[in-house]
């Protein structure tokens, strides 16, 4: 009896200490994620800040990217990223939304059960494999269509559109699914057809979610590296405005970093500028994801493995 009483408090103290230790260990792991984001930004700044200090802004945002002659105008790279991304979004958004409508409204459930994992598989195909196929199959095909080269902004947009589709589909589908059933019932009850209900009631009601889908598609596309590096031709020119601009070679920000970081001297201005481009990419995706997560809310990010 006495021994038990003596062991009791000791045991309890040890237990409480163990609980305290574990709670704080897992808390530390959780809070570290904030630290990691901060660290990523700090290290980009540390290596990249000379870009913004040593290169006059006018030169930095000029049109000549020619590091061998110390010309670091990032405008062509910004335009390149923008063109490829806009092209990808123009292709991927209508397609993604269509598939989302099909999955949510028309597909029989057995087909749905088959298609959803298939789309997750698409999300899993490495960008280098799609880039490789773009390089050996798609680019020659586009060249045969009459372009002077198959390695163009459009080729990049096609591959990127395909890579952004899983993101756009899954978020659009969630947005459609979140529309209250009463809305549909109401529309159908007053005699609207299924399609009228979708077009006039469900889609407008899901509007904000669909905007998020587009935003995250943009975020996904603008950060893509390897596939774009392989198929866009990597010419740091600003294409002339017009319909033909999608069919010229461009060079994106991501591709520039990937292609040139291997050959620069560490600490050189060229090296810093590549990190500077990294800062711009970080800020763009940070803004997109922060705004999107505000709107979608915690629930959404939890459901989709953090990929939003």
């Amino acid at each position: 009896m006495t021994t038990a009483n003596q062991a009791g408090p000791q045991h309890q103290a040890r237990r409480r200490w163990g609980e305290w230790l574990i709670e704080n260990t897992v808390r530390l792991a959780g809070v570290s994620t904030i630290l990691i984001v901060a660290l990523i930004f700090l290290f980009l700044l540390k290596e990249g800040i000379p870009t913004f200090l040593d290169i006059p802004l006018r030169q930095l945002f000029s049109g000549r990217w020619y590091p061998i002659e110390s010309l670091y105008g990032i405008l062509p790279l910004l335009v390149g990223s923008l063109l490829v991304t806009i092209g990808a979004v123009i292709i991927a958004v209508p397609l993604g939304l269509t598939v989302a409508i099909y999955l949510g409204e028309f597909a029989p459930s057995w087909l749905r059960e088959f298609l959803k994992p298939l789309i997750e598989i698409l999300a899993g195909i490495p960008s280098i494999v799609l880039g490789f196929l773009g390089w050996v199959v798609l680019a020659p095909l586009i060249q045969n269509l009459g372009a002077s080269t198959g390695l163009t902004a459009f080729t990049g947009s096609l591959i990127l559109a395909y890579m952004a589709l899983p993101t756009i589909i899954s978020i659009s589908e969630d947005a459609l699914y979140a529309v209250p059933k009463e809305y549909r019932d109401g529309a159908l009850a007053i005699g609207a057809t299924e399609w009228q209900t979708i077009w006039r009631v469900v889609l407008p009601a899901a509007r904000s979610g669909l905007v998020i889908a587009v935003m995250l598609g943009v975020g996904r596309a603008i950060g893509e590296t390897m596939a774009v590096l392989m198929v866009t031709g990597n010419a740091a020119n600003i294409p002339k405005l017009g319909a033909g601009m999608f069919f010229q070679p461009v060079r994106t920000m991501t591709a520039t970093i990937a292609a040139e970081m291997g050959e620069v001297a560490q600490g050189s201005l060229h090296y810093s500028t590549l990190f500077g481009i990294g800062i711009i990419l970080f800020l763009i995706t940070f803004a997109i994801n922060s705004v999107a997560s505000r709107v979608v809310g915690v629930q959404g990010s939890r459901r989709r493995g953090g990929q939003l």
Binding site: R15, E19, I22, E23, V26, R27, A29, G30, V31, S32, I34, I36, I40, F43, L44, E47, T98, V99, Y102, F106, P117, L118, I119, E120, I121, L122, G124, I125, P126, S127, I128, V129, L130, G131, F132, L133, W135, V136, A192, T193, W195, Q196, I198, G223, T225, M226, M230, T254, M261, F282, T285, N289, S290, A292, S293, V298, R302, G305, G306, Q307
Partner: protein, 281 residues
Amino acid sequence: MTRQQSHKLAKMLITVISALVVVPIVFVILFVFYHGVSALSWEFLTAPPTNGMTEGGIGPALLGTVILTFLTAIVAMPFGVAAAIYLAEYAGDNRLTRWVRLAIVNLAGIPSVVYGLFGLGVFVLFFGFGTSIIAGGLTLGIMTLPVVISTSEEAILSVPQHFRTVSLSLGATQWQTIRHQVLPHALPGILTGVILGLGRAAGETAPILFTVAAFYLPELPKSIFDQTMALPYHLYVIATQVPGMPLEIQYGTALVLLLIVLSLTLVATPVRTSMRRRREW
């Protein structure tokens, strides 16, 4: 056109377009398989590339990717699961928690090439690891964290609340409850998330470009402070940097990479889908 007709037309169009999107996924996989399968052999998988990489196999690159993926798991799994336990079981609804969630969403959204820059700045230069397996593994590990955290949290949350209530009411502490009641049930889901994350990591090229990947290195690495070849980068190199490269070897390399990544995804996906459905016990 009557309303019924326009409904039928819309439905048909949507179905056709969806097919046009979905069918190519299968086609892409079959296409790589068709062109690459003839290259596969035991020798292709184990031998180093020879004769300026235009002959031989992918042995060192394959091994490099396996080692890197393994290291990614060692980094991302304990860290990610711990963070998930915190979010699911301990975190209150407060500003700190919202910040953590925002950080995770952003970690998931940072471009992979920016992770490469981060790995270069921190692990290769600041910590002085040099271009090495450890630097690449840590970079990939951190990149994989958000997937592991989110899927693990999902798995933990899918364990019904009354499991916890009963355990706590019997006098178990919170950690005992998590350890003995929650985690065992969440384990399949957690492993799924880890595998899914590893599948992504195994196929990534941009984060390893400046942190670990060697252009050509027929010897196998001796320690984690050595460089190594890796399959995704090797595919990039032989496709774009080596003139006169036989297409068969290129497709063979793409196929092996695809098979690794797809088998990981295929293992993970069905479990994940069924777990989501099972939320209500």
